[in-house]
């Protein structure tokens, strides 16, 4: 593989989705700096998906983002999963490998959802143990993403961001800060999203995610089916003031727009970063 364009501070990317393969395989000039690939879509494939990903990798930096590590699961990560993820990472040479701070069920019954953890010492110990196993198997540091949640546990003894920070420090991993998820959880659980964003130490943040939620009337649902809403963009603006170097990613998984529409969201994210760091008078 030839050396792909390098990772740049503050670069803006989008999630790689198969509906956009035809747009991208012609190798057009795009406004995005990098792509994020869902690990599970490629780690078990030797066919066209992997072929496309490797082609994209020739032109762009790529991050791998998983949904099935189940880093909070009491059974620990599956060894077959880690083996295949390592193989994929060795092939793709991503600038970051990430997954979610959650559990996804049990080995014998995977519910394929990002189930929230209680914010307890036992959960921190469990995640730290699993991260150590995963980082050892992968030979690289992980980043863990905060998830949207629709319930909270009575046994939790700290805030979500205190839990996230404690996990990152104890596990020696980094944070993928999903601004939309912070907003969704804040609205659902009645805390200030600004407190969350302000509390996360800049040195722990490896990447930022932006996505769209759906307002279900009684709660906010993290659907990734639309553009970020104005309050999420405002929260993003607040985040990038403190995190000028973290790469930003637009995530869109359902009702995916045509390529130009997705690209426009990345351009908007870049414009906000520039407004905060390049265009503001000193």
């Amino acid at each position: 593989m030839k050396t792909a364009p390098g990772v740049r501070a503050g670069m803006t990317g989008v999630g790689l989705r198969s509906v956009h393969y035809p747009d991208l395989l012609g190798r057009p000039s795009t406004a995005v700096d990098w792509f994020e690939a869902i690990s599970e879509n490629y780690m078990d494939s030797e066919g066209r998906p992997l072929e496309v990903l490797l082609k994209i990798r020739e032109d762009y930096p790529v991050a791998l983002h998983g949904v099935s590590l189940s880093v909070g699961g009491v059974e620990g990560p599956r060894s077959d999963y880690l083996r295949r993820l390592r193989r994929l990472a060795d092939r793709v040479d991503p600038f970051l490998v990430s997954d979610h701070l959650c559990f996804t069920g049990a080995h014998a019954s995977n519910v394929h959802d990002l189930l929230p953890l209680p914010y307890t010492e036992e959960a921190i110990v469990t995640v730290a143990r699993n991260v150590a196993i995963a980082q050892d198997a992968l030979g690289r540091r992980l980043a863990l993403e905060n998830v949207s949640s629709y319930l909270s546990y009575r046994e939790s003894v700290m805030t979500e961001w205190e839990f996230l920070i404690a996990v990152a420090r104890r596990a020696d991993c980094r944070i993928l800060l999903d601004v939309n998820n912070a907003y969704v959880s804040a609205r659902n659980h009645g805390f200030a999203a600004e407190d969350y964003i302000d509390a996360v130490p800049a040195e722990l943040v490896a990447q930022i995610h932006l996505g769209g939620y759906s307002d279900m009337g009684t709660f906010l649902f993290d659907t990734h089916s639309r553009a970020p809403t104005p309050p999420v963009w405002e929260l993003y603006r607040r985040a990038v003031r403190r995190l000028p170097d973290a790469p930003t990613l637009i995530e869109w998984d359902a009702d995916i727009p045509e390529w130009a529409g997705l690209e426009a969201q990345a351009v908007q994210a870049r414009a906000i970063r520039r407004e905060e760091h390049e265009l503001k008078p000193a």
């Binding site: 078990d44 030797e46 099935s68 959802d113 959960a123 319930l151 546990y153 046994e155 649902f221």
Partner: protein, 255 residues
């Protein structure tokens, strides 16, 4: 050994999502937004069958078009209730769905549905298989003798189906309108393969051709495979030419 609080919580959560809301879990959580605890758990419980149904729909697209939304969703719901996902990869979900579809009442109207599903599952597996580098026809012809063992590449799937479903499956796959098959009578044998790239091809096989390729896949020598299949000389030549052109063979051993 007693379980820890986190183990108990996770067990209850999985049970609440895949079966029914656990009373202890309801007592242990507070709903977000204006949701009650039970409603909040319901958000996750509702998402579970929706997600797996979507996975089944992607894999068994033609079956969905044949059965229609109502019957396909009902079949998916019942299958999901009895078949938990054991893989970390959701696109692996649905092995066993062909046999399940065959066992349902709609099989009287669409007796071919199990075979159609088997074809779709085989296509998915092949889609994710690396395209092998098959031998060039000249190299194959030069190396192969009656006692040779011809190794088929990994990107090659042989199917023997009781119904003729290939025509149903390939009908305008970009279209998602309901399919109303009329012709499915008679058994059908197929080889699905990649020819050096990730494009997938299919060819119908006669009974002897399928038997010969199956014997080769089992490691029988070329001569024995052709004899067993009962192919005459012209038939053997035609099959050999196809296998060579399709780059099905990756190695010749012995002979």
């Amino acid at each position: 050994m007693s379980s820890s609080p986190l183990e108990r919580l996770q067990r209850r959560f999985v049970r609440s999502v895949t079966f029914a809301a656990d009373a202890d879990l309801i007592a242990a959580v507070t709903g977000g937004g204006r949701l009650s605890a039970a409603e909040a758990i319901g958000v996750y419980r509702d998402a579970y069958p929706a997600r797996l149904t979507e996975a089944l729909g992607e894999t068994y697209e033609a079956c969905w078009r044949v059965l229609g939304d109502e019957e396909f969703f009902a079949a998916a719901r019942d299958f999901i209730a009895r078949a938990p996902s054991r893989s970390y990869n959701m696109s692996d979900y649905g092995e066993g769905f062909p046999e399940f579809l065959e066992s349902r009442p709609h099989a009287e109207d669409a007796p071919f549905i199990g075979d159609l599903a088997r074809l779709e599952w085989a296509f998915l597996r092949l889609f994710h298989t690396r395209a092998h580098e098959g031998l060039e026809p000249a190299a194959l012809a030069a190396a192969a003798g009656s006692e040779s063992i011809l190794r088929l590449g990994a990107a090659c799937v042989l199917l023997s189906l009781k119904h003729s479903v290939y025509g149903i499956w390939k009908r305008d796959r970009a279209d998602d309108t309901p399919l109303e098959p009329t012709e499915w009578d008679g058994a059908q044998r197929l080889v699905l393969y990649k020819r050096g790239t990730n494009q997938i091809f299919a060819r119908e096989l006669s009974v002897p051709e399928h038997a010969a390729l199956t014997a080769l896949a089992q490691g029988r020598p070329l001569g024995a495979a052709l004899d067993t299949a009962g192919l005459d000389e012209d038939g053997a030549r035609e099959l050999f030419a196809f296998a060579a052109d399709a780059r099905l063979i990756v190695a010749v051993v012995g002979g």
